[in-house]
């Protein structure tokens, strides 16, 4: 499954640790949430980068105490029609000021890239190779956005106000 990060297909340096499997001695790891929560110290006490895969039916409040130790939070779309992770993503970015990598995983498809970017995701484990290759093209589909989210894109309402002010200033 290709990983898109920074707008490009890149190698995933994180090793996915399955439930119950032993943690590798070194290297970046991505562990299931339950693994982190049952014994945080055993997971967090390592020099290499740590990420967690957080399920979409668990409040992100429970993740907040560990955020500053995490390099990756991976949120899950079990099917693309299940939109809970969009709310989790916005809460992590906008309320809890998480600045690390926010990864979309599961059934991640081309036609949801823009929504995911707007909700704060910046890396994508894309289901299909062709979708991953189309990433750069797809995210240019839209230039107008009606809602303010943490991604900083200017909303239509505010663009109008700017236009209006520049007109009245004679610019």
């Amino acid at each position: 499954m290709p990983l898109v990060k920074g707008g490009k297909i890149t190698d995933d340096v994180f090793v996915h640790v399955a439930d119950g499997a032993a943690l590798p001695d070194d290297g970046a790891i991505l562990v299931p949430a339950a693994r982190l929560l049952e014994n945080p110290a055993s997971v967090l006490d390592r020099k290499d980068k740590i990420g967690v895969i957080w399920p979409n039916n668990r409040d992100v409040d429970d993740l907040v105490p560990y955020l500053d130790r995490l390099a990756v939070v991976a949120l899950v779309f079990p099917i693309f029609r299940d939109g809970r992770a969009y709310s989790q993503a916005r809460l992590l970015r906008e309320r809890f000021s998480y600045r690390g990598e926010l990864r979309a995983t599961g059934q991640v498809l081309r036609d949801q890239f823009v929504f995911m970017l707007r909700a704060g995701f910046d890396s994508f484990e894309v289901k299909k190779q062709s979708d991953a290759e189309a990433f750069a093209q797809t995210v240019k589909r839209y230039s107008v956005f009606y809602q303010p989210t943490g991604d900083g894109r200017l909303t239509a309402l505010h663009r109008r106000m700017q236009l209006r002010h520049s007109e009245s200033a004679g610019l």
Partner: protein, 551 residues
């Protein structure tokens, strides 16, 4: 009317381009049907019994004559020459080809119409009072806020994959013509004790398998807080609404299972954390939207022009005027409702020729504006009273002057088994038969206001629960049978109807309805007591006795 600017137009065009690409990928097989299904639904495309059905949004029920002509064009060019207006201020075309859909969408985009989110598990078309902006006694034009909500909910990055569909309706009148209590979020504009304008917010209404009327979650939310409060509700719903069972996924079930107090508490907690954030609406932002609604330059006209006085001698004109013309907030003007319920016709259908004719009449007599109401009728909102006789003649010529608005033959019906793949039973032929039974206008006027609503399955697109008489088609042992309720209503005193007796077969529905109406005529205290009031006073029992005594 709200005038799209370059920003709005760009978004709609970008959406058309995106959908064109999606259709191309579906036709090439790159997208599976499962992947494509939600994408097409989010552009209003359903797969029905015979063909694709295409549902186009008419936000808050306001259309320009240019837009109506374009709908006529789509009916003619891509469909079979007609369209069907729905209970949610949408129009549906029933015979569209998938490969042609992107072109149809592009044609509509030229005049600022789209089909975004007319289906799918996202926020649907924001609906409002079809008399918004012209009804006497309104707090203010609710369409300003409906447009703010339309923009806010369009392609929302967090709420495009909710547990289930999500519908807003908004009213600013004491008489609720927008049926806000049967919506996921209902908004009622009103003034608080300090004289400020804001919203009573209701949540958790909806019909379908488990009908609920919406409950008040907050009696007053200031206009500047509207979007943040709505976002708090939707965020709670997105995270905690059920996704394990499609029939329990609407917000009404979450509200019911948690109880309104607990749900309100969750929303309040969320809201307090973000109410001062980026969603706060500054006055100048609201004013900017308001400034792009344009209103007619009304003339100063007499209350009772000579033309109207003269025409009063024509009993046919008078029958139409008394039935279809309503007071306007400006002296000398009136609102003319256009019945789409001719005797023997499918409720809510209009031909391309009728749409064109009405667009011309709107240009001539209504400042180029047309409205669509949830009762599946249209309206011309700004008709000078002196023009009413001429308008009536022209409407009559186009087959659009049936004077049965709010009468027993003004029936709401879903497409039913004639088109819909979800339906268990036919709706349209039942409606057609009833309009024939009650074709005599004297009888219909004697009966007075009476709303019959018909759905062809439990999903309740025909709003049967809130019909004064509600008819629900179900399938039993391979046969269509119909459950009949009485006493429902969708207005400010909204109520769900009560079952009158055992379900009856297709062939007997019209007889039963006739018996119910006869029972009412015998039971009412005086001619002015409406059907719905008689049912309220007496309950279902006396009706049941009379209707089922011989069955």
């Amino acid at each position: 009317m709200y005038a799209y600017d370059e920003i709005d137009r760009t978004l709609v065009n970008e959406r058309v381009a995106e959908f064109r690409d999606q259709v191309k990928r579906r036709l090439s097989g790159e997208l599976t049907e499962d992947e494509f299904k939600m994408l097409r639904l989010q552009n209003g495309v359903y797969l029905q019994l015979h063909a694709y059905m295409f549902r186009v949004a008419i936000p808050y029920g306001t259309l320009s004559s240019q837009q109506l002509r374009r709908l006529a064009h789509v009916a003619r060019r891509y469909d079979r020459g007609y369209g069907h207006f729905t209970t949610r201020q949408n129009i549906q075309f029933n015979w569209i080809k998938l490969a042609e859909l992107p072109d149809a969408l592009a044609d509509l985009a030229d005049v600022g119409i789209h089909a975004m989110q007319t289906s799918g598990n996202n926020t649907r078309n924001v609906t409002s009072d079809q008399w918004a902006g012209v009804a006497p006694g309104e707090i203010e034009d609710p369409r300003i806020w409906a447009e703010i909500l339309r923009q806010y909910t369009t392609l929302h990055p967090e709420f495009s994959f909710l547990p289930r569909k999500f519908k807003f309706a908004i009213t600013a009148s004491a008489n609720d013509r927008a049926a806000i209590k049967i919506h996921d979020i209902g908004l009622r504009l009103h003034k608080n004790a300090e004289g400020e304008t804001g919203f009573e917010v209701l949540v958790g209404g909806g019909l379908g398998r488990t009908p609920f009327l919406a409950k008040t979650i907050r009696p007053f939310v200031h206009g500047s807080d509207l979007l943040s409060y709505v976002e708090a509700i939707m965020r709670v719903y997105n995270q905690y609404g059920r996704r394990d069972n499609i029939y329990k996924a609407r917000i009404k079930i979450l509200v019911h299972e948690l109880g309104i107090e607990k749900f309100a508490h969750e929303v309040e907690e969320e809201w307090q954390q973000m109410r001062e954030g980026a969603l706060k609406l500054d006055d100048d932002v609201v004013e900017d939207i308001r400034s792009r609604f344009f209103y007619p330059a009304y003339e100063k006209l007499p209350h009772m022009p000579d033309e109207l006085r003269k025409a009063a001698h024509d009993p046919q004109f008078e029958a139409w005027r008394k039935n279809s013309v309503s007071p306007h907030k400006v002296q000398g003007y009136a609102i003319a409702t256009i019945s789409l319920k001719p005797v023997g016709g499918p409720p809510g259908d209009a031909t391309a020729e009728q749409m064109d004719a009405l667009a011309d009449l709107a240009d001539k007599y209504s400042f180029g504006e047309i409205r669509v109401g949830h009762e599946q009728n249209l309206a011309l909102p700004h008709v000078a009273k002196r023009d009413l006789p001429a308008l009536w003649k022209a409407l009559d010529k186009a087959g659009l002057a049936t004077p049965n608005v709010n009468l027993v033959s003004d029936i709401i019906a879903c497409p039913g088994l004639d088109y819909c793949s979800l339906a268990n039973a036919r709706s349209i032929p039942i409606a057609q038969e009833l309009t024939r039974r009650f074709a005599n206008l004297d009888t219909a006027n004697l009966i007075g206001r009476l709303h019959i609503n018909i759905s062809g399955c439990i999903n309740a697109c025909g709003h049967h629960h809130v019909g004064h008489i509600g008819i629900l088609g179900v399938e039993k042992n391979g046969e269509e049978v119909y459950q009949i309720t009485i006493g429902g209503r969708a207005d400010e005193n909204a109520a769900l109807g009560a079952l009158i007796g055992p379900a009856v077969p297709y062939a007997e529905v019209a007889d039963v309805v006739e018996d119910i109406v006869e029972a009412y005529l015998a039971l009412r205290e005086r001619p002015e007591e409406l059907f719905i009031d008689t049912v309220k006073r007496l309950g279902v029992e006396p009706f049941r006795e009379r209707v089922y005594a011989t069955r």
